[in-house]
């Protein structure tokens, strides 16, 4: 192919530049705010930080301390951020474990064992995305109370998987369905049981699709704010999003922004680590089938 003319290359490069800035700027902006001292927040340039400080992050982990009586304690509220962090970790890890194991089982059933009407099972599971979530939490509250789970993190382990499960079942079962039969059959002929064939051959092969499902699950769980703030009432039991939602932003703006970053940065790092695998898994499940 002929080399492109200079103006086409320039156009391509500037489009790439615009796309990158568009995607990253809001993230950069929130990060910059969280590194500012109160002084710079009020008088500085909003786009840059000249004297970065971690005091906003420290403030989140500060234990309750005596500071100047009633006025002081009103102005400097403290939050159980460490508990929020632990709760969030627990919920994410639990959601991942529940979603992936339940989806794998269902996807293997639909993609490999194929009971009668398996395609309709899969469609029915996917169709749960049609249900509007708006006021569903009102009757859901009765279910949660019936199970004795009110103000309990386990509620989220019940609800979050249902947000990612339909997509994961769809993805994994499409992948299993595309896998050539011979792969499993050769193992079965050699005397391996179905479960041995699954754990030793199919599961390792489907790693990219599992990664894709996991990243999608993490994205779904990390996007919820509403369910967490409706069902987790006491401060000690909240996750980071629910907790940040209760903060007094007019007073603690910088600490709240620091909290946003403390939640986002680990999630971003994990996702970025698996980003390529995510794309590979989506391709493998939906197109190639190998």
């Amino acid at each position: 192919m002929n080399p492109k003319p200079w103006w086409a290359r320039l156009g391509h490069m500037s489009l790439i530049l615009i796309a990158t800035v568009y995607c990253v700027f809001p993230i950069y902006f929130v990060l910059v705010q969280s590194l500012k001292s109160a002084d710079e927040d009020v008088f500085g340039n909003p786009l840059i930080v000249l004297h970065p400080t971690l005091e906003n992050f420290e403030e989140l982990f500060e234990a309750r301390r005596q500071s100047g009586g009633a006025v002081g304690s009103t102005l400097r509220r403290t939050y159980p951020f460490l508990a929020w962090l632990e709760n969030t970790l627990f919920v994410f890890a639990g959601t991942l474990a529940v979603t992936l194991s339940v989806s794998l089982a269902a996807a293997y059933a639909l993609g490999k064992l194929r009971p009668p009407g398996f395609r309709w099972w899969r469609r029915a599971i996917f169709a749960t995305y049609v249900i509007p979530q708006t006021i569903l939490f009102v009757p859901l509250y009765r279910v949660v109370i019936g199970l004795g789970l009110d103000d309990n993190l386990l509620t989220l382990l019940l609800v979050y998987p249902t947000m990612a499960l339909p997509f994961c079942v769809w993805l994994l079962s499409a992948y299993f369905q595309h896998l050539p039969r011979e792969i499993e059959e050769s193992a079965l002929i050699e005397g391996a049981s179905r479960s041995a064939a699954f754990f030793r051959i199919i599961l390792p092969m489907s790693r990219p699709v599992l990664v894709a499902s996991g990243i999608f699950t993490l994205g779904a769980a990390a996007s919820d704010f509403m369910i967490a703030s409706v069902f987790l009432l006491s401060g000690q039991n909240q996750t980071i999003p629910a907790g940040l939602g209760t903060m007094e932003v007019a007073l603690d703006e910088l600490a709240a922004v620091a909290g946003i970053n403390l939640m986002a940065i680990p999630v971003i790092l994990i996702s970025a680590l698996f980003a390529r695998g995510y794309v590979r898994g989506l391709t493998a499940a939906m197109v190639e089938g190998t």
Binding site: C23, P26, L113, W121, Y129, S223, F225, A250
Partner: protein
């Protein structure tokens, strides 16, 4: 009599399927049933009288209400605008990333980040960035912007716009990555063949890339349709105020939580279902049938 291998497989399949089905039933069956039932009654925690069955009255009342049609219009416009913007931006990003260039890995990560950034907190970041507390250095400037937008379009327009822009920002990232996965799945031979057969890049795009991406576009459009309203709902929770441009979801929430009118609220949110089901059937046609039936 010994069961055949096939019969045993089917039994195993149902056992393996049961956790997923039970989980979905536990979380969704009762609430959906409750919502359908409530939409047919006069249930309200604020009234003293007994709950009576009113049939389709709540639905008819909604359909006769001018406010409902205004809300429906806003909902449709919002959904169409955000989905079109997300698909266009996502497709653009995916095509940019499809060719190799120096630093592509970095640009790919940058485009992946808006979706990877946890939406529960990034929506707060956006909201507080665009509606900053008073002492912030740029608050006066954004206050001006808010004032101009609100006085042109009505109070609360700026907050609505915040949620819309956020939804597009995050959704376009998700769709870009999804479409990139689709493009990666197109066999390179097909492109080489198309290079010989077609004249312009535009023609190649239309005759090769587009048809192969169609199922991915459909999946992206459907998933953004079902998730389009969660951002508005989140902003709504943050502001605890009435959005001046209500969508069906927030309007239902308003009716239920502030008005105690659970019947009309349930009817209102269920009125969306036929449209979403229609979109879903379209998706299944595009995605599931051609290769699915042969497998």
């Amino acid at each position: 009599m010994r069961a055949t291998q096939r019969q045993r497989d089917i039994r195993t399949a149902y056992v393996l399927l049961s956790p997923a089905v039970l989980l979905l039933l536990a979380v969704l069956a009762y609430p959906v049933g409750w919502e359908v039932w409530t939409s047919l009654t006069s249930f309200s925690p604020l009234q003293d009288g007994a709950t009576v069955f009113v049939g389709s009255q709540n639905y008819r009342q909604q359909l006769a209400d001018a406010e409902f049609w205004r809300t429906a219009l806003v909902t449709v416009v919002y959904a169409v605008v955000t989905i079109a913007a997300k698909l266009a931006l996502g497709l653009g990003f995916a095509l940019l990333l499809a060719r190799s260039f120096r630093g592509r890995a970095i640009v790919f990560l940058a485009i992946f980040l808006p979706w990877a950034y946890p939406a529960s907190v990034s929506i707060m970041g956006w909201y507080w960035t665009l509606n900053p507390p008073i002492p912030t250095s740029y608050a006066a400037f954004l206050g001006q912007v808010k004032y101009v937008v609100d006085s042109a379009l009505g109070g609360g327009a700026w907050v609505f716009l915040t949620a819309t822009l956020f939804n597009i920002w995050r959704g376009s990232s998700f769709i870009a990555v999804l479409l990139l996965a689709g493009i990666n799945g197109i066999p390179p031979e097909l492109f080489e063949y198309a290079l010989l057969e077609t004249k312009s890049p535009w023609q190649r795009f239309r005759s090769v890339t587009m048809p192969l991406l169609k199922p991915f576009l459909a999946l992206g459009a459907f998933l953004s349709l079902t998730s389009a309203f969660s951002d508005i709902a989140n902003v709504w929770m943050l502001t605890a105020g009435r959005i001046v441009f209500p969508v069906l979801g927030t309007q239902a929430y308003w009716l239920a939580i502030h008005g105690g009118q659970f019947g009309p609220a349930s009817a209102l949110s269920l009125l969306l279902v036929p449209f979403l089901l229609g979109a879903l059937l379209l998706l299944f046609r595009l995605f599931d049938s051609p290769e699915g039936e042969t497998a």
